[in-house]
């Protein structure tokens, strides 16, 4: 190793070691996650009025939807356009000049459970926010809908198009965005 290498290493080390790392959300222990999930599922079952539904919210929510919910929670405060809109419109099944299904709040690339996609957030007046995860590859996830940890979710899986995962605390907002995307 030459003195030049030492100097180069020192500069590279300094650059990498000062990459800005924010605190981020606290890491939740899996046991606590499970506890929260169980409480949420119990709450959902009670709201649905069926004791038989206890635990079904957890069991029926696909793992990819749960990963998407965790991802959008981490980016909940993020706003802005960080990706070109044309491919995102295409992934959402919208025409080149078609409006988004609400006021665009966020558009960025993301990786959910190791799968590349786009995270799009839209706002609907009087209804609230809807988060859309548009996956960029075909995955084995059936169309469906449900409720998970305070979020309503819906998977729009259509032939010849990669699936969309919609999440919102508002069922009405979710329904409206799903309608606009499917119309």
């Amino acid at each position: 190793m030459t003195p030049t290498d030492h100097e180069f290493d020192a500069r590279m080390r300094a650059l990498l070691r000062t990459l800005p790392v924010d605190g981020g959300a606290p890491i939740a222990l899996p046991r606590r996650r499970f506890l929260r999930a169980a409480i949420a599922a119990a709450g959902g079952a009670l709201l649905a009025g069926g004791a038989g539904g206890l635990g079904l919210a957890y069991a029926a929510t696909p793992a990819l939807v749960r990963a998407a919910a965790a991802h959008v929670r981490e980016e909940s405060g993020l706003r802005g356009e960080f990706a070109p809109l044309a491919p995102v419109r295409q992934a959402l099944g919208l025409g080149p000049n078609a409006p988004f299904p609400g006021t665009l709040q966020l558009c960025k690339r993301c990786v959910v459970a190791g799968r590349p996609g786009w995270h799009v957030s839209v706002f609907l007046d009087g209804l609230g926010y809807v988060q859309i995860i548009a996956l960029r590859e075909t995955v084995d996830i059936p169309a469906g809908r449900g409720w998970w940890l305070g979020e309503h979710w819906q998977v729009l899986a259509q032939p010849h198009r990669d699936p969309l995962i919609l999440l919102s605390p508002s069922a009405a907002a979710l329904h409206e965005v799903a309608r606009r995307l499917q119309s």
Partner: protein, 160 residues
């Protein structure tokens, strides 16, 4: 908080920044890095009984991160798409960040073994033996691979 939970909290506090920077440098994507680190800690908690030497926790966590990063890499879109995103990132970055952006971009253009050894070498304080252990290579390979990786990085940064 029981003993295991306290131990886990200490791992997070001590190693989160290292793992996030390593994952960021490996993937070139901060959001993906944060996901990888989250997954790494969840796996570490699940398999905490497998760690026998508390002094080797950083290398152990890195090996978990590495496996997850490989999975991420396999799912990653072609480089051209990511170059476009990095270019956008660079355009938005403050001028003082240019060097760091150049470095992240150059790391993504390296081969995976070269990128990995440089990231670990620069971000951790591991000995060559610990590097070899973390990367599953022979100790004698560390120095030669490091030299080749450094030369490749210098070439990409125009410093050769």
């Amino acid at each position: 908080m029981n003993r295991d939970a306290k131990r886990f909290a200490a791992w997070v506090k001590t190693h989160r920044a290292f793992l996030t920077r390593a994952a960021w440098a490996l993937t070139g994507d901060k959001a993906a890095a944060q996901d990888l680190v989250q997954d790494t800690f969840v796996l570490a908690w699940r398999h905490r009984a497998a760690l026998r030497d508390e002094g080797a926790v950083q290398a152990w966590l890195y090996r978990i991160l590495r496996r997850e990063a490989v999975r991420h890499w396999e799912k990653r879109p072609p480089w051209d798409e990511w170059r476009e995103e990095l270019a956008e990132t660079a355009a938005c970055a403050a001028e003082s960040e240019d060097l760091r952006i150049d470095l992240l971009r150059a790391l993504q253009a390296l081969s995976e073994p070269h990128r990995e050894i440089l990231v670990l070498f620069y971000l951790s304080d591991m000995s060559y033996e610990e590097l070899a252990n973390s990367l599953d290579i022979a100790p004698g390979t560390v120095m030669s691979r490091l030299n080749r990786a450094r030369a490749a990085l210098k070439a990409l940064l125009g410093e050769d």
